[in-house]
């Protein structure tokens, strides 16, 4: 990966920037090896099911900014699922972020019609921005592109810039139309690209004692962890304010809870404003937790505090972890997640003494924007705990997943994203969905996650009953074919 180009309106997509892929079947070690030598090639599919959209990924990072308004410049369908973020915002505001009076999310569609695809939608967009400005008290307005507005060639950047001058507050164009990238997490990058270009300001005071945490909306475990070091977390971008984000450049350091999410923003803040990133992956599993605290200590020049914390945590938590290991030894676990969180779960599986019998992740980034191999969780996972067989990069392809799961029949499915646990249940396999990713970090997280696994393994009556009555639209033929039957030969995509 080269230097990030913040000067241009459109973010460079992951396939080009990082060489990311959405099709692979083999082992984790094989994938790490191919990634390492720069020769990772994608395998396209002859059959596909509905994938994901960059819009919703970009939208979740901007809709949840406390005082933002969001306009989806497209037909009404392109904003369809965003009501879910309004719900998310309310639910987690109080319970996890201490916001007592969460406000309604401001989500608009320019409602592009057939005539707009003929005559262009730029004027409609300009009018929409004015209207949204009048209707809301938003401190910044985000404009997200769609497939339709992109193909008809609306100049969203110019409209946004002109509006920004007119209304005197940031109007941020974000290019996240679905067809641009097969890796829909490019939408995160697109959102951050806009935030770094338009909202983050050059630092006035450097090293302000805050650590940027690039995250979703999980529990805040960091405030407690950071106390001994004398620093505080700045959780971004959900629940940030526009003003707060403008100071992200002044932070002492940046931590990503997941490089699938935070790769671009972490690297951009370092590149543009010299905010250093912690050079190791997030603290999932014991080995990685120790590494993470040590890196944090090194960066803050408080190595002794890091060692002290590690020592205390081991004394306090290892006996309980040992108990869990006894209980879970030999349990065959299958993991499914977006990408990096899958690697994190595989660490936990390794630490709890379980056997990782396979994994399905949506895409794979052979490298990250920070350009440091130490952030590569999968490489570390293979090194720390050994290889994972049946490692499948599947772009949310349910048919492959069902086929594999039916073959492997693990004792438990550990999932990060919705929709997949249903198939485990249909096959009578217990499953556990991680909703609060931060709650699984560190020694504490290992225990709480381990306890949930134990509970899940014991609670099987419901799925046993459900599996007896489950329907299956997949043909018998397909259930007996090899899972990679519809993967084409590997080749480098020419775009």
């Amino acid at each position: 990966m080269g230097k990030l180009d913040i000067s241009i309106p459109e973010v460079s997509i992951r396939e080009i920037r990082l060489g990311s892929i959405t099709g692979y079947q083999g082992s984790a070690k094989g994938l790490v090896n191919e990634s390492g030598c720069g020769g990772l090639k994608n395998r396209d599919r002859k059959f596909q099911q509905c994938a994901g959209c960059s819009i919703s990924k970009a939208a979740c990072m901007v809709t949840l900014i406390q005082d933002a308004a969001v306009i989806i410049h497209g037909p009404v369908g392109c904003a369809s699922c965003l009501h879910e973020f309004n719900f998310t915002y309310y639910v987690n505001a109080k319970s996890r972020r201490g916001i007592d009076n969460p406000t309604q999310r401001k989500i608009f569609s320019t409602n592009l019609k057939e005539t707009d695809t003929v005559y262009g939608g730029a004027r409609k967009l300009a009018k929409a921005i004015r209207e949204v400005n009048e209707r809301t008290n938003a401190s910044a307005i985000f404009v997200l592109s769609s497939c339709a507005s992109a193909i008809i060639g609306d100049d969203i950047e110019s409209v946004a810039n002109e509006a920004e001058e007119e209304i005197g507050k940031p109007v941020v164009a974000i290019f996240c139309e679905g067809f641009r990238s097969t890796v829909w997490t490019t939408g995160f990058d697109a959102g951050y690209h806009g935030i770094v270009r338009k909202l983050v300001k050059p630092p006035v005071h450097k090293d302000n004692g805050l650590i940027n945490i690039i995250n979703f909306w999980g529990s805040d475990v960091f405030t407690e962890w950071f106390k001994p070091f004398g620093v505080k977390p700045n959780l971004i971008t959900p629940y940030s304010t526009v003003e707060g984000l403008s100071h992200a450049s002044e932070a002492t350091a940046t931590v990503q809870i997941c490089p699938t999410l935070g790769s671009y923003l972490g690297a951009a803040l370092e590149q543009e404003y010299g905010v250093p990133e912690i050079r190791t992956a997030a603290p999932y599993g014991i080995i990685q937790t120790d590494r993470w605290f040590r890196e944090l200590g090194k960066l803050l020049h408080k190595e002794d505090i890091a060692e002290q914390i590690i020592k205390e945590k081991k004394e306090k938590y290892l006996p309980k972890i040992e108990e869990l290991r006894k209980r879970l030894k030999g349990v065959r676990a299958y993991v499914t997640a977006g990408s990096a969180h899958g690697h994190a779960l595989l660490n936990i599986v390794g630490d709890l003494g379980m056997e990782a019998v396979g994994a399905s992740v949506f895409h794979h980034d052979p490298t990250y924007d920070g350009g440091d191999g130490a952030a590569d969780l999968l490489e570390r996972r293979v090194r720390d705990y050994g290889d994972v067989p049946n490692y499948n990069v599947c772009a949310k392809q349910e048919f492959e997943f069902v086929n594999v799961l039916n073959r492997i029949r693990p004792d438990i499915l550990l999932a990060r994203h919705g929709g997949i646990t249903l198939w485990a249940a249909k096959l009578g396999i217990p499953s556990l969905l991680v909703e609060d990713e931060q709650a699984n970090m560190g020694y504490e997280g290992l225990i709480s996650y381990g306890e949930k696994i134990v509970e899940t393994l014991e609670n099987t009556e419901f799925i046993e009953n459900l599996s007896k009555h489950a329907s299956n639209p997949y043909t018998e033929w397909w259930m007996n074919e090899q899972p990679d039957t519809f993967l084409k030969e590997a080749k480098t995509e020419v775009i």
């Binding site: 059959f47 009501h83 409602n111």
Partner: protein, 446 residues
Amino acid sequence: MGAEIIEQERFTCALGAMQTVVAIPKALPILHSGPGCGDMVSGFFQRSKGYAGGSTTPCSNFSEKEVVFGGVNRLRELVDNSYKILNSDLQVIFTGCTAGIVGDDVQSVAEEFRDQGKPIVYVESPGFKSNNYVSHSVVVNAIIDQYVSQYEDESTFRSQKNTVNVFASIPYQDMFWRGNLDEYKRLLEAIGLKVNILFGDKSEGVREWQSIPKANFNILVSPWYGKDIVDHLKDVYGQPYVQYPNIPIGANETEKFLNKVIAFAIEQGADINEVEAKRFIKRESDAYYAQLEDLATFLLEFRYGLPNHAHIIHDAGYVLGISKFLINETGVIPKEQFIVDDTPEKYQEEIAKELQSISKKREVPVFFSPDAGKAQNKIREITHKGKGIIIGAGWDKQIAREKNYDFISAAIPTDYRLVMRTGYVGFTGGLRLIEDIYSNTLSKFA
């Protein structure tokens, strides 16, 4: 009007009518669209996977390459492999914005497979073309023209005098569609008709669709959406239709609805035992009022605050149906009403007139706009004496809280209510709505 911005949309784009196919047992939607379209639709409707919707639905997942070079070959490969991987009785290809603008010839692909004997249909459904209220009719008509037509035999058109096709709830867009369709079927069968309900697990799937031409007439329960279907069936099979403009909720409306259907059926030569049918209605109505009477003391005397007026933010069929129900069967007065289904202008006057017919004593102001955010701002500005109730989508919970009003989640999208088989149609539906309204009020005390 329809071209303005929309805040807090209450419907989705044309492609959202893939749920119309999901609602037909063992039917398979196939998307020729961008990678996120299906995800957006799932996120909008929630819990809407059915047999092969959601992440099971095949999709060509347009990338830059297909945008530049066209995606017809990719679609052909996708459809071909769909037959190997998924079992289905009917396939419907939907086009998204990408395929629509690029101009892929999807018709030819569908015809290639149809020539091989496959039960496959295509629909042009780019999101910019219309919304799912409109597109629902487009999908149904496409299935009639491209699939049902293969089972036609002109000599059997309208041959079953007591059979009717019912077009009422739009599956999934009406969150109570399962329960509502159940009740329509139960009521209409009780008055002596045989009902093609067409959607949901109480229908017989494609077999039922094949028999559409044999029905004597059609029933449309809607002020406007779905009208294109019954108009089309009139053209192709000569089937007349009877239209009821709103969802019949509670005794008054259900009696009127059934009586209208009975009169129409007899007029069309159906063999209906009118005495039996009327006896059924009376029995149901008596039972309904016996319960209402039991409740009346509560409605009249409860001294800790019941809602006395309502704002409904919903589609035209519900706004009419709930308003009529509330005023006559609970005493709650419908105040400003908001119809957010993007009603075409040509139907608006008629709907507004129908709403005024509910009371000789008062005017009910009604606003037509899909911009529900604007509707909420209007409600913020309005004050009426007493406690109000807002009946709308999940979004409206927050405005209800701001105003300290009661709130019933009865429209999508909603994150605050789970509906399995509940319906608001009919006698039972009316009682259920009463339960929902007043249980909600009571649950807030202590």
